[in-house]
Amino acid sequence: MRALYTASTGMAAQELNVQVISNNIANQRTTGYKRQRAQFQDLLYQVIRRPGTATSDQGNLVPAGVLIGSGVKTASTARVMTQGTINASEKEYDLAIRGEGLFKIRMPDGTAAYTRDGSFELDAQGQLVTHDGYIVEPGITIPSNAKSVSINGQGLVQASIPGQVAAQDIGTIQLSRFINKAGLESIGDNLFVETPASGQATDGPPSSEGFGNLQQGYLEESNVNSVTEISSLIAAQRAYEMNAKVVTATDQMLSATTQMFRG
């Protein structure tokens, strides 16, 4: 009986759905986290009677055929790249992006990774780095004698040096953007890498055409909405139970068959 296998695909899909939801809830307070959403598609259909075929030579057609589906599959767990809430952190090197773009990070092996998490720090050389010590492109080194550092909406980093009246320009933070942000691959540590699906990165300064601007002293929170996640969780749990119920009912039918004609 096919129903048994069909229901098991449903149970597997709902299990994955709960996995995705639980990861979203776990990362509710992760800076720059973008929630994922499981999307499902129906599986192949077995055609027993195709609609639209002729039933007589007078041109009568089958109005609705017999098509038996074989369950569900996961199509994607795409990220929803909407803006997260921006929250004041009052830390000097905390940056939030308002609008499009991702920070470009230089990985230890020289490749590029991208993030929306702008909670940066300085390393021993005064370089602007992520929590893991990776350099933020294009590499900004703050002079050791700087009194204070300001980063404006265009990404320009300026330091006030004792004895100088005017602030000193140090560099401009670059952002990158992709035509298909949802196609980026997550590698953990709040980082994304480019894939053939995301397209090539386009680099540019903040506030230029198509890029968002920067906000110093603020962080972008995750875009997880707890109400949505909890209601999706309830829906997924109930859908799982329903599929389990189909397994039970099919089992009862099979057992009725095996118990027929017991001598």
Partner: protein, 248 residues
Amino acid sequence: MENALLIGLSRQIALAREADVIANNVANVTTNGFKARSLRFEEYLSPTARADSFPRNSRILSYVQDKGIGVDLTQGSVEMTGNPLDVAIRGEGFFVVQTSAGERYTRDGAFQLNAAGELVTASGARVAGENGPITFSPQDGRIEIGADGTITTAQGQRGKLRLVRFADPRSLANEGDNLFSSPQPGQPLGAKGRVESGAIERSNVRPVVEMSRLVEVSRAYQNISNMLQQTDALRRTAIQRLAETPAS
């Protein structure tokens, strides 16, 4: 006597198939744009021999046959997602999708972009616009989809979603991947097409209905098993009784 067994069997085969259809509906309870299907049965009247010389009039036997699986095209519940590339159709109509096998139709409006900036479905098939595929450039900024399916960005209009309707939507066949195929091409919906952006149409499977039908199917199946068992017992008893030699 065998007729009772065979008629019972025809019903059981049909019920097992109905259970398959329910299982598929339940498995797709969270599939975007999924349309529930339900099985329809018909009587299959068996031609029987007719002769007046028979001691009793011959009776017509009616078997069960599954005739078609209707598709329920009612609107599924619409969930607001806020994602600019999610589109739900309000009322009738289908999105047109270009696949390698030709045009296919879907109600699943969870669209994405591919690396070339084209609007695609979750399985990567291009979504058709009124004037060919819909393509975006990295400079486009925020994408807005109007109520009539017009797509605009900061750089201007980018096309319009093509919506079609079918004179006979029952002839739609499921292809998997949330796609339908149709023997006749769809007719343009024109100004009647209404879409909602930032929303997704969920499956229209009604869990309560499916669960109660499932119970019904399961019970009917068991009843027929019992009936077949009783028929068998009747026959066995008959053989035993008739074969008994009368005590002399």
